[in-house]
Every structure is written in C-alpha cells, then in structure tokens.
C-alpha cells in the first residue's frame, strides 16, 4: 500500500522518470547539430527551436495529472494534501534543474526567462494536480471514471488556445516568455495558472474521499 503524503516512493516514481527521460531527450534535440555557421542554415527544423521547454511544459503537466491521480488514490485531502502535492511538483522541477542549467548555454543572457518558465510550469503542474484530484475519486485498483475527462481537459488546455489565444496555453505561454516580455506581460502569462490554483486548491482540499495515513 502506498503511503499517503509521502514525497516519492517506489510506486510513484514513474512520472518523474518520464519527465527526466523525455526532457533529457528534448534537450539533446535542442542542441544545434551545426559545427560551423554554414550548417546553421541547412540543419534540421529542430535547430534553434526550443524543444526542451515545450517538452518540459508538456511533461510537467503530465506529472501534475499523475500526481493528482495518485493523491486521489491515496485519499489525501485537506491542506496537507495541497502541501504534499506542492512538494512533489517541486521535486519534479528539481530533477530538471541540471537540464535548465545546461539549457542556459542555448539561450544566453536569458536566465530570468528560464526562471520564469520554471515558475510557470510549476504552477501549471500544481494546478493540473489539483484539477485531477477534483476529477478523480479515490477508487484504488479500478479504472477511474475521470480518466477521460482529465485527459480531455489537459488536451483542451494545451492545444485549443493555440488557435486564438496562445497565451492561455502553456505552450503558447512558454513561447511568449522565450520571446522576452515586459514584467506586466509576464504577470499576465502567470495569471491563468495562479487563478486556476487559487480556485482549485480549496476545492481539491475539501474534496471527498477516505483519508488514509
């Protein structure tokens, strides 16, 4: 049985592994293959494309979904659940710190932007964890009825705004942050996950379920 409120355990490490593995692969792909300037023009479409940050935003979201589901399965609730989810999301972010340090060399002079992206993806992951905790009910060992709903919402959150309001999508927001923004624009980008968190956290903390210790 999985222990509630634990930081990371043998049953819950796989989402972290996916995050580490796929972000690492994305980092490798983000590095231009060009050895000399001539090759910059003829390199692949991934050249100079910030693949790492988009993949990181995606897998932080998926980590949020997985953590919310795990929290529901463990029957975590209340403020303690919110704190535990926050800790787990932070652990995920800490596992990506070596990549962020490495990615600094690909985006020189944009340390502040990278920190903003890290903050943004942390908020997104936490908001999605809360949302999933609300949708998923603690029914261990059975398929959750909220499975489809949470992934549908996830896809809607990431993909649909790209059509008209890109800053509402985490991918769009990452692109905007990488383009370099004024503090006011950065706040606008961060506003949605903060608002989601502010609304969802009390609801998730009060969600039903049998608390296990």
């Amino acid at each position: 049985m999985t222990k509630a409120y634990a930081g990371i355990d043998r049953d819950g490490w796989r989402p972290y592994f996916s995050l580490v593995l796929f972000c690492g692969i994305a980092l490798v792909l983000s590095i231009p293959g060009a050895c000399v300037v001539r090759d910059l023009a003829s390199a692949s479409f991934l050249l100079g494309f910030p693949t790492f940050f988009y993949v990181h935003a995606l897998f932080m979201g998926l980590l949020g979904l997985a953590l919310g589901t795990a929290s529901a399965e463990r029957g975590e609730r209340g403020g303690r659940m919110v704190v535990a989810l926050g800790q787990r999301v932070l652990i995920g972010q800490l596992l990506c710190v070596p990549y962020f340090v490495f990615a600094r060399s690909l985006f020189p002079g944009r340390g502040g932007t990278l920190a903003l992206i890290a903050l943004f993806t942390t908020l997104v992951a936490l908001a999605l964890a809360m949302l999933t905790r609300l949708i998923e009910q603690p029914r261990p060992l059975k398929p959750s009825p909220g499975f489809l709903a949470k992934y549908a919402l996830f896809v809607a959150y990431y993909a649909v705004p790209l059509v008209g309001l890109p800053f509402l999508s985490p991918w769009g927001a990452v692109r905007i942050l990488l383009a370099g923004v004024e503090p006011r624009e950065a706040l606008l980008v961060l506003a949605l996950p903060i608002a989601l968190l502010a609304v969802l956290s009390p609801l998730a903390a009060g969600a039903g379920g049998e608390e296990r210790v």
């Binding site: 990371i8 043998r10 980092l27 490798v28 000399v36 494309f49 340090v101 060399s105 985006f107 990488l178």
Partner: protein, 567 residues
Amino acid sequence: MTERRGSGAIAICVALTGLLGSSWTAFAVPTLDATVGLAGRVVPGQPAPIRVTLADVPSGATLLRITQDVGNAWRGETAMSFEMRVSATPRGDVEAAIPIYDAVRPLRLELLAVDGRRLAEKDVELRPRRVEDAFQVAVGAFSVPLPNPAASVSLPDLPKTWSAYAAAESVWIGRTRGGLDAEQWDAMARWVLSGGSLVVFAGAGLFVLDAPRLRDLLPVRNPTLADRGDDAPAVTGDLRRGATVLASREGAPWLVGRRYGGGNVLLVTTDALTLDADELVEIRRHVPSARTLSLAGLASELLDLQPVDRPSRWVAALLTLLGAVALPAVVARLGGRRSAAPALCAAFAILALFSWIYTDSTRVGSDLYRLDAHVLVEGALGLSVSSCALTSASHQPVTASVGVDAIPYEPLPPSFESRARDVTYRDGAARMAFAPGERRVLVTQSEAPVRFRAWLAGDEELRLTNRGPRAIENALLLVDGEVFRLPPLDPGEGTVYLSSAASNSMRPLGPAEGAIDRLFALATESFALGQGAWLVAGEISESRGAEGGASAHARNVTLYVVEVGRD
C-alpha cells in the same frame, strides 16, 4: 542741449541695433543646403561625397540626419539613415562620404534638436545626378576637353574623404589657380593607395600645386622646371625606384608612371594647357581604371566557416543517462523514506553542478555570429577596407548595434521584406534588426592609423616598426615576387635579417583554416603584390560580448598590406 539729446538717441538706437543683431541668431530660422556627388554625379552602390552647409544653427541643434528611402513596393522598401553630430556654431559645413543606394528617391536631410524636434529639412534629388559607371574626373583647366563622361570638379569641391572618390575612374589634375589643402591631398593619396589612378600635369603649373603629399605621390624626386627652349617648360627629376617612363618627347621623359600602393600615379611633365588631342589619347591609353577592393563576398564566405558555440549533444545525452539512472537507483534504495527526497535533490544537484561547470563561456551559444574582414593598406598614410558579415543564430528576431568604423553600405538582395533592412548609423554603430537565421553584410571604407613602417636596407636587412600593442605571428616579405617568411613581428622597432632561402610560393600565410590566406589571395590580386616590395601580415582574433542587446561571437580577420621603402 538738442545736440546732446540727438546724440543720445543715436547711441540708444545703435545699442538697440547691436543687441537685436547679436540676438538675431537666436530667432533666425536655421537653414541647410547640400551638394551631393563627385562633380555632382552619383553611382549607385558607391559612396558619394556630401557637403551640408548649415546657417543660423541654434545652440540646441545637435544632429544632422540623412535618410535614403530605398526600393519599391515590389522589391521591398527600406530606409537607410546616417546621423552626424553637428557642432553648435551659427554657421558651418558638415562633410562626409555616404553610400548611395538606388538613387531613385530623393535624399532627405533633417537638422534635429536635442529633443528630436526637426529644425530644418531639405530634400535633394538624386535621379538627375545618377550615372551608371565610374567616370573620369578633371580638376583645373585643359587645352583639350576630356571626352565624356568626364566631369569637372573645382578645387574647393574636391572631397576630403578618400572613399568619396569611389565613383572616379581616374582623376586628372590640370592647370589650377591654387593648390589642394592638406586634407584634400591626403584623401587623394589614400584613394590612390587603395587602387585609384591619378594623372598630374606638371609644367609651369606644378609649383602652384606643390605640397609635401604631392611630392610623395609623384614618380620623380626633386622635381625641377626645365626650359626646353619652346613655350612648354617641362618638369624633370630623379626617377623613383619602380617608376617607368611611358612616353618621351624630344628625348626627355614626357609621361612617367609609378605604382603607389594599389594604385597608379602618372606624371605628364608638360603643362595641361599645351596638350593636344592626340596626346590626350596617348595618355588615356596608359591610365588604368581605378580598382576597388571589396571584401563583402569573402566576409560572408569566411563567416560560413566560423565555428558555432554550443555544448556537445553527447554530454547532454550523458546528463540524461545519469539522471535516468540516478532516479530509479535512489528510489529503489530509499523509496518511501523521508530521506528519499533529499537524496534525490543531492544527486541532481551534483548533476546541475556538472552542467554548470561544463557550459562555460566557450560553449554558450550566441544570438549573432559576426565576421570582420579588414585589409589595412599602409604606406605614408593608412586606410582600411572592411566588411562585416553577420548572421542570426537566434530563433527570435534580434536587434543589434553593430560597431563599424565608418558609415556602412549594405549590398541589398534583389527582394526583401519591407522595413526589415533598415539601418540607422550613429556614433560608430549601425543599428539593425535580424530575422531568425538572417544574414546581413556591411561594407565600410575608412582612414586608419599607420601601424607598420618597413624599410628594406640592402638585400638582406629589413627594418621594421610595429606600433601595435602585440606581436603578429604571420608575416611575409614580398620582394619583386620573391617571398620571405618573417619571424613574429614584435611591438617596437627591430631588424630582420632575411633568410637566403626565399620561396616563390605565396602561401600559406596564416593558420590552417585559411581565413588569412583567402584575404591574402584577394589582396594579391587587387594590389598586384608580385611587383615591388611589400610586407604582408595577418592576424585573427576572437571576442564574445554584447552588440547592443544581442550576444555576439565575433571573429576578426585582419590583413596588413604595407608598402616597403627601399634604398
């Protein structure tokens, strides 16, 4: 009493008039007038002289902006603007050489106040001044008019900037009423050094022109006027080494030529007013067209070879592997315990430290890659022909202030996106925007201080002065086609004893990458380095820094082409 009152009134009137007169400039409307082009002509793609005359400039006026709108709706439209500081004097001239683009639209001149307010403006039409090719320039009087498309320039209108002669095929100086000033002679000498052709008619008019720089240019030393018994006294003197008598009259040299740097100086020993049409044709046969060294294509090619700063993919893959191993390993050992999270944090902190150490400044990518190619031609004077090729490696639009040594010219592609090619030059920096992956090339021509002096004493001794701050590793001495490899040229004065083992091979001069050698090959072609004595030295330097908001990795390839004096 009445007289006293009258004289008092007059004194008051005089004082008031004086006061009003002195303060008049404060209320006067500033005006500007401009002359553009060499002999009023401009050749698209070449620099042209511009002289702006300012009047009634208030003390607040600081900036003169010259703007050219280039292109059209089909090709793309862009604006090239050059800004120059104006000293706050009530009246004065501003002179410069500005690149002329397509010369279809008028040149817009604006006098701006400190706060950006426009104080005066004027449009100068370029279309009537446009000619397609370089032309002969005649200064002074000739007995026979030079054939078209020759253009006549008065002495005061001769430019004081060497690059302003770019539209000249050759400059002919006939009988003048006065001389050129020192700045005009220096500009002329630099233009010849860079590849220009100068024809000077001597005779009785030579001593009106006489100046130290002219004596340095002439193919004869100690010129004196010799009366040949007719009405046409001729100049004689000691032929300089390398000077050639191209034509004679009555057994005396009549047309004498010599190389001066990359160019040529021809002396006609008789007066321009004694010239007949046949003689003019004969002289023209001996006058080579001015050559222009352009490094734009080479700079772009060398930029292609510049290494890209980036971390290794293999190291990123190793980092991923270590992370992917460390995570399950820690979880397998400590999963579920309170110590699992701190252990993971510690393991990944070590990986982060490894990342930090690995991604040092040499592996940090740049928004811009820049290659500066310079050929510094040095004789008694120095000049620089440069080209700066830049490419954006950023996936975002980048705006940069690119340091350049003169007002730059950018060769434009046949079509471009409107407004994307705007250049604003001010105080030695050209502000320009780059789309992701975009490449732009700037070309400049400027004066340069003389760094090297070289003197060949006898056959085996080279006396050298390097006024630069550091030694130059790659250097050759070329003497009439023979090549001597030189030891590093250390700062200060020194003597090099030439090895008897001369080689006929020009290469290699620089390191294996070949950047210096390619510059050398271009200079060899342009300056005919196989003739005469030349010191050729090259160096490459790298720098990383900010170009006005964008990070840039710059490589600087410089070739010094120094005319060597000989006993």
